[in-house]
Symmetry: C2
């Protein structure tokens, strides 16, 4: 049932991978969403790396951020782009595929193979567009649970992810604590602050202000390119730190002198334009709207992460980055506080980095040390407890 796609190579990559699809449909397999609607059939795009062991005790679920997808590691046959966490997932890497079986699935609401607003609505034969129901982070997790059931995995060794991926990590523990042996929320929060909501709202308004958005019904005409591009430019400012922008661009001019017109003069402007233009080619505008809203709605504060009186034995490694001003360390510290106040085994580490929020994707070395050790202890602890020895 489960195809193993990984072929290791000299560069410690999982090498050529292929995205798979899992569809659940029919009675009892539709998803009751938090908004009250029902969604189905639902397809999840996913990839796996490494080999699931006989007792299915070595499975790790990697959870992607806002614009991520199922392609977390390796490369596809027709493309050179490595997966979004390729530096972290592979033989000998933080999530060591010689030892663990790593699953990554695209969230519902997304546009990379999982059911989302750009998918065909079976009721109309046309893309859902704004007929797509509102989804939440909990809905994303409930759909993933079906995939984990499909693999026959009772208990995940670990759920891990950064940014919105970290929110899904927290939601997994809130919804299914008995199915999660350990959790690694990175650069994330129990809930969005008003400033974070404000940035997301401006992003949405930028998309919806573009007449090419056509109230969401643009699929036969093409993306609302200008609005989506500006939206992504805003995002990229928040992903980087002031310092990393200074190191990367400073005030360098693209042509050596001021243009005295409204073309981009500075390299940093050119970078944002490049990022904006690229994003339009790869990400659906409506998915951006739905997913940012899911993020803004997310809220596991005030005992919603661990309801009073519930004992959970999930172990936590919480990671934040000093220069991350989009998901500042104080928000990770709130997670740790919520855990510790409920006697949950939690380790917290704020890593020094100048990369801002992007750090969870690029700060490999220290994250690898922390995560490898943490997984090792979790996995060995499991073996010892269950009488297998190490």
């Amino acid at each position: 049932m489960i195809e193993m796609k990984n072929i290791t190579n000299k560069n410690n990559s999982v090498c050529i991978v292929e995205t798979q699809s899992f569809t659940f449909a029919g009675p009892g397999n539709e998803l009751e969403l938090e908004c009250g609607d029902t969604l189905g059939p639902i397809t999840l795009a996913y990839e796996t790396y490494g080999t699931l062991n006989a007792d299915k005790s070595n499975a790790i679920l990697a959870l992607h951020a806002l614009s991520g997808d199922a392609h977390a590691a390796g490369v596809h046959r027709d493309q050179d782009d490595p997966g979004w966490w390729d530096d972290m997932i592979g033989p000998g890497k933080a999530f060591d595929t010689n030892r663990y079986f790593v699953i990554c699935s695209n969230v519902i609401g997304g546009c990379k193979g999982s059911t989302g607003p750009s998918s065909i609505n079976p009721a109309t034969g046309k893309p859902y567009a704004l007929e797509f129901p509102f989804i939440t982070v909990a809905d994303m997790v409930h759909a993933q649970r079906k995939l984990i059931d499909f693999f026959g995995i009772d208990r995940l060794l670990c759920v891990a992810g950064g940014s919105m991926g970290g929110m899904q990590v927290l939601q997994w523990v809130a919804s299914y604590p008995e199915r999660v042996r350990s959790a690694i929320p990175v650069a994330t929060a129990l809930k969005h602050s008003p400033q974070q909501i404000a940035f997301n709202e401006v992003v949405r308004q930028s998309i919806m202000a573009d007449p090419a958005w056509r109230e969401g019904n643009y699929y036969e005409y093409g993306q609302p390119e200008k609005g989506l591009s500006v939206a992504r430019m805003i995002g990229h400012i928040t992903f980087m730190s002031d310092q990393s922008m200074e190191e990367k661009f400073s005030r360098r001019l693209r042509s050596g002198r001021f243009s005295f017109n409204f073309d981009p003069d500075f390299e940093v402007e050119g970078y944002l334009h490049y990022r904006g233009a690229n994003f339009v080619k790869r990400f659906d505008a409506n998915s951006y709207l739905y997913i940012t809203k899911a993020i803004d709605y997310f809220d596991l504060s005030d005992s919603k992460l661990i309801p009073a009186g519930r004992n959970i034995d999930t172990r936590f490694l919480v990671i934040s980055f000093k220069s991350d001003w989009l998901y500042p360390s104080c928000q990770s510290q709130e997670i740790v506080r919520a855990l510790k106040m409920n006697c949950v085994d939690a380790t917290y580490c704020e890593l020094q980095s100048t990369y801002g929020h992007d750090a969870f994707l690029v700060e490999v070395e220290e994250q690898t040390t922390l995560i490898r050790h943490f997984l090792d202890k979790t996995f060995n602890g499991y073996l010892v407890v269950d009488g297998y020895g190490v």
Copy 2:
């Protein structure tokens, strides 16, 4: 020649004021701009508060920020809105109009009475739109100098302003140090960092992405409302601090529950929408483009503030605010460093405030104490030095 408009009232306001106009034109009165173009005739809108003394030694020039105007204090006869620094300018206030004569003029490139892209181009009889030449902060200051000449003021007691107003303060000292007895740059910088440029570029792109912008030629059709509104929403996020947003809005919902649609759910979203919609009514989109570009081009770092070997006796009071992340304190500290390394008399104060960049407009009490004392010393020092006694 100079009309005094102030009538004091019980509330320590300068009361009813009227915006004046000053136009310079004709040979020798056009402005050679930094971009190489010539601009003229030029009109400056200005207001004055208080009385210019006989030897014209009590004049203070207040300099406005990006979207400010000449209306710094009091109210207009037909409107209730007090000027943008009304809390700071008036009888007994920081800039005490019982003692000093305060002038505020709208910058060139603006849209509140001074010559800018929405003004009629005398060559065509139509609004300049993008035919308006590129202006810089230095050009703004050169134009203001003509106004100060018109008043017959040899030496300003003080130039003061926050944000872009602070840049004009620095430019006054760089361009005309002999005409500035003291300077108060507030919440500003010697130059924009790449992050600050990035925010401005996204603001510009948001405006220019709106088809209603029509390459700048929208004057007969109306403003590019959607793009300009999104642009201003971005601005307002950067003007506030995370903490002040938390205090003002937290995650409060406008209707008590999630809408599960793309209307604003949270109060913070409603606030941004309100600010964006209001801005469209009061500010010209092209002016926003020109002025943000002028700010990005501004650069008085690397001895450009005070060229090596130049002795200046301008006294400085540099003020920043702890929660201001748009113009963080480290940028004010760079100003102080540049001054001190050139043996300039400079006092620096970082004020505790949770208001972010908005603090320079709303943190009245401490600024008043600092500024009143600083002006007092400057003015009295002048009197003593020049043999008038106190």
